[in-house]
């Protein structure tokens, strides 16, 4: 495959770093500060988008910076999979910026400069992770992401928030340590940490037990993906302001976890090794457990954001489930689900935030009849919710369809059932919200209106996009196909 050198990926990371610095400098002037956020977001998306044609041509864009440690350079490589994630993150950053301006201003939050600064840093690292060419670069941004999102999580600075923040750190720093261990081990055994489509661990004479250990530590290391025993930081982190929950805990942070796990499974271990060692199947059932149990947990929560958080945990595991099927269809489904889930879940979170801003309500049981006052918001919410359940013609259907094919291909009928049961559970925990909002009588006269336009427009747009992605999935599918082709060699 052809490789071209370009400053594109470096610039994409740099834009928001510079943006972050400027936000700090202009912290006293809210208008300038927030325009910088928006402009940086747009430029960033522009840069990322400018790489689409090259990647669609089957080229790979590389940028090798300098060697931080001997033989361990900071290096960016944009392949189809990375580009897909980069596009999602940078595109949604624009929406979220608008949304958070509305949210933060309406609620008159404190420390907004810190908020926007950390936001920009987090985005930089998300893009850095999307484009990193080796585990080492990925790890650097992974840790920066952990640190820069901490102030966002504890933004309200109450006692609860602080203890949630501690939990967040404990989980993610521990994960970082496990990841570091695994990276060092990989480097020790193979002498490289580069991602390669066939994996780099195969044929290096690594003892099988060591491989198992490595896989486990790697998966603990990607705890940002919130697999079931390591998930509990995510619901706790919901104490953050809603834009944070929306972008970071539906898109950037958790998707980084899933992205990392996928990179490790497909580009470090490689399809063949995953099959040979039986790790793929074990992992498939492991995440299947998460899918079901997290959905059940979601049912028990009355707090809308908590319910969404558990839904996220469940949906993230879809991605991994798709990937570890190791068939073209499964991987396509998994990768595509990163995109689809991002748009659907951010819509849902935006709606949850809009409800909080407009009415101050966080509990589902209090939302009776809310659609009368906020019809647009709730329509967007409905779009997102039915997409989550995988109903055609929403985006969620496409990815789920590919995963179903994948589960049939590998002849694991239990996994097929898991996917179907989970769809039912999705319906079970989203339906009450929608029913409450549209059809129940409000307890008393409702006096609030739709959220401010700054918030309303982004959520409507993302809602519409998640519908559009379901009807015309060709463009993202094309990108995913390139990635899958390079992995499996076939179509």
């Amino acid at each position: 495959m052809e490789t071209v050198t370009s400053f594109g990926p470096g610039l994409a990371v740099l834009v928001s770093l510079i943006g972050a610095a400027m936000i700090l400098i202009f912290g006293r002037y809210p208008n300038i500060r927030e325009s910088i956020s928006i402009i940086a977001g747009i430029i960033k998306f522009g840069i990322v988008a400018s790489m689409i044609p090259a990647v669609m041509d089957g080229k790979i864009i590389e940028l090798k910076l300098w060697e931080v440690l001997p033989n361990l350079p900071i290096m960016f490589r944009v392949d189809a999979f990375g580009l897909l994630f980069g596009l999602i993150a940078s595109f949604l950053w624009i929406f979220t910026t608008f949304y958070s301006i509305g949210y933060m201003r309406t609620l008159k939050e404190h420390a907004q400069t810190r908020f926007f600064f950390c936001f920009a840093m987090a985005l930089s690292s998300a893009i850095g992770i999307a484009f990193s060419a080796n585990l080492f670069t990925l790890f650097i941004f992974y840790e920066i992401l952990t640190v820069s999102t901490y102030p966002l999580v504890i933004h309200i600075e109450t006692r609860d928030a602080m203890s949630a923040g501690r939990k967040y750190l404990l989980y993610l720093l521990t994960a970082g340590i496990f990841l570091l261990f695994s990276i060092i081990a990989v480097y020790h055994y193979t002498g490289t940490t580069d991602f390669a489509p066939g994996g780099i661990l195969a044929g290096k004479g690594i003892p099988v037990n060591m491989l198992y250990l490595l896989f486990i530590t790697f998966m603990i290391g990607s705890a940002k993906a919130a697999f079931m025993p390591l998930h509990s930081w995510l619901p706790s982190a919901m104490i953050a302001p809603t834009p944070v929950s929306a972008l970071l805990h539906a898109v950037a942070v958790v998707k980084v976890g899933v992205f990392t796990a996928t990179r490790i499974i497909l580009y470090i271990f490689g399809i063949d090794l995953m099959k040979e060692t039986g790790l793929a199947l074990a992992m498939a059932y492991f995440v299947a457990f998460t899918i079901i149990v997290a959905s059940l947990f979601a049912l028990t929560h009355d707090n809308l954001k908590k319910r969404l958080a558990y839904s996220t945990i469940s949906q993230l595991s879809y991605v991994i489930l798709g990937v570890v099927m190791l068939t073209p269809a499964g991987i396509t489904g998994g990768m595509l689900h990163i995109l689809n889930h991002a748009f659907m879940k951010i819509t849902l979170f935006f709606c949850a935030g809009a409800i909080i801003v407009a009415s101050g309500k966080e509990k589902i049981s209090e939302m009776n009849g809310i659609a009368r006052q906020m019809p647009l918001t709730m329509i967007a919410f409905t779009l997102g919710a039915i997409g989550m359940a995988g109903t055609p013609p929403m985006a969620g259907f496409i990815s789920k369809w590919y995963m179903l094919i994948g589960s049939v291909e590998i002849e694991q009928i239990p996994l097929l059932f898991v996917l179907l049961v989970s769809t039912l559970l999705n319906v079970a925990y989203f339906a009450p919200i929608i029913i409450n909002a549209f059809f129940k009588e409000p307890d008393k006269e409702l006096s609030y209106k739709e959220a401010p336009l700054f918030m309303l427009i982004p959520l409507i747009l993302t809602g519409i996009i998640s519908l559009v992605l379901g009807i015309w999935p060709d463009e993202p599918l094309a990108i995913v196909r390139i990635a899958v082709q390079s992995l499996t060699g076939g179509t």
């Binding site: 931080v68 420390a111 650097i140 750190l169 720093l173």
Partner: protein
């Protein structure tokens, strides 16, 4: 050519400078600190030049008074010396600038003795590093130690007892070292390091050598505050003037470690201390316990300087662990950690000093709102602390990476776990400060930054911590070259 005499000039400049300090102070007291900075700047420049020369032209050997070794005293500079020289001189120089305000505040009206001793301390440390004569090393060690005792004692009421205890411990250690040197001398009849190492191999069967090694290791471990011989360190660092704590934490213990490396790996051959007698593996196990114990003790502290002191105990454990594992990678990591810990810890102590200078607060639970009051200082603190935890891209990450890699390569799983686990513990005790300093205060607090002469070194250290973290291959290249030459 004057450049031929650089390795002795670095000492001579210091000694002369120290001699003239009181005279200058008699004319104008305020000149003392400038004079000290100037002298140490000279030494810093010389050390950089020495490093440059060693990299370009190879090892430097200087014969004092033209007497050929082993009869005369030799100053031998190789990559390791030069590397440590630059660290020591650089840190002493930055802290001397920082100390102008900080020491003026904490130790008012004592410029004369203060800066004389400061230059002597610097020179003593540089002497330990530059010399190639093992008895000369002892003498410089004592010059440095005596200056250190006196400097610590300037910190007020509590520092007196701390200094006294340090002096007792330090003298025991110095006596052990002297005795160890004596045994080596009795056996070989020479004091020149290169000469001893040439003569020793035929004597390895003798128990006397073992005794000498034991004495030297214990003596130097006390000087470097290796757990459980660290007891002097917390009190001394807590009560000493902040600038002095900064210098001592960053350099004095490191110089002791340098001496240990020098004695164990070049005077005595590595194969003897690694294979024949498992000195190194014993050291590494002690260090591993020290890492955890130091971190746990640091978590229990609420005085910011005492916390940093215990954190030093833990970090020194890292260095010892790297050296003790004695494989190329771990050793590189250990020596790199000398650099990284110096940078981080000096920066952190300077921040603590700046906070004390502005507010007098030492209790970390009273730091509320400090992030708004002294934003730049606290930002530097965050960078230093993140480096201690080992978050990339900081220099602390690079050394931890190498240490863990070395442990993994040697199959020492326990050490891998210790190194990685301790990062978490480090995070615990630093995060308390973050939480208190940055969060929980909503009202506006007036900005009241440290004066520029204090802020500048603090920020410089923070920037270097990150820059070197990004360019860690540079120091690693130097260290690796040395390590490859020494380890089989």
């Amino acid at each position: 050519m004057i450049t031929d005499h650089l390795s002795v000039l670095i000492i001579a400049v210091g000694l002369l400078g120290a001699f003239f300090t009181p005279i200058i102070g008699l004319i104008r007291k305020e000149m003392c600190s400038l004079w000290a900075s100037f002298i140490i700047l000279l030494q810093f420049l010389i050390s950089i030049f020495l490093l440059y020369q060693v990299i370009i032209a190879g090892n430097i050997s200087y014969w004092l008074g033209g007497w050929e070794p082993p009869w005369g005293i030799e100053y031998a500079v190789d990559l390791l010396n030069a590397f440590v020289l630059v660290i020591v001189a650089g840190i002493c120089f930055s802290v001397s600038i920082y100390g102008r305000k900080s020491l003026g505040f904490e130790v008012p009206d004592k410029e004369l003795p203060l800066y004389t001793l400061y230059i002597l301390l610097t020179t003593g440390m540089l002497g330990i590093v530059v010399t190639g004569d093992i008895f000369n090393l002892y003498v410089f060690l004592e010059i440095g130690s005596l200056a250190a005792y006196a400097l610590i004692a300037m910190g007020g009421r509590h520092s007196l007892t701390a200094s006294f205890n340090y002096m007792i411990m330090g003298t025991v250690s110095a006596s052990f070292i002297l005795l160890g040197i004596g045994y080596l001398y009795v056996m070989t009849g020479t004091l020149n390091m290169a000469d001893i190492s040439a003569l020793l191999p035929s004597l390895y069967g003798r128990p006397v050598i073992l005794v000498a090694i034991a004495l030297l290791v214990v003596g130097l471990s006390i000087k470097t505050a290796l757990f459980p011989l660290h007891t002097w360190l917390p009190d001394a660092y807590t009560h000493a003037p902040s600038a002095v704590s900064a210098v001592l934490s960053g350099t004095f213990t490191k110089v002791g470690i340098y001496a240990l490396i020098r004695v164990m790996f070049t005077v005595i051959s590595p194969s003897y201390v690694i294979e024949t007698v498992p000195v190194m593996s014993i050291l590494s196990w002690v260090a591993a316990i020290g890492i955890l114990a130091g971190s746990l003790l640091a978590i229990a502290q609420y005085d910011i300087k005492r916390m940093l002191a215990y954190s030093s105990v833990s970090q020194i454990g890292y260095i010892f662990l790297g050296i003790g594992m004695a494989n190329k990678l771990a050793m590189t990591g250990g020596i790199l950690h000398i650099l990284s810990h110096s940078l981080m810890k000096v920066g952190l102590f300077m921040v603590a000093g700046a906070i004390i200078y502005r507010t007098g607060i030492r209790n970390i639970y009273q730091l509320k709102g400090m992030g708004k009051k002294m934003p730049y200082t606290m930002a530097a603190f965050v960078i230093g602390a993140l480096s201690m935890i080992g978050i990339p891209p900081t220099i602390g990450f690079a050394s931890k990476f190498y240490l863990a890699w070395g442990a993994l390569g040697a199959g020492e799983w326990v050490f891998v776990v210790v190194i990685l686990l301790s990062s978490l513990l480090t995070a615990v005790y630093f995060w308390r400060i973050f939480e208190n300093a940055f969060f929980g205060v909503h009202e506006d607090i007036k900005k009241d930054e440290a004066p520029i002469s204090m802020l500048l070194p603090i920020l410089a250290f923070a920037v270097i911590t990150v820059l070197l973290g990004l360019l860690a291959s540079l120091p690693i290249g130097i260290i690796e070259q040395w390590v490859t030459g020494v380890l089989p």
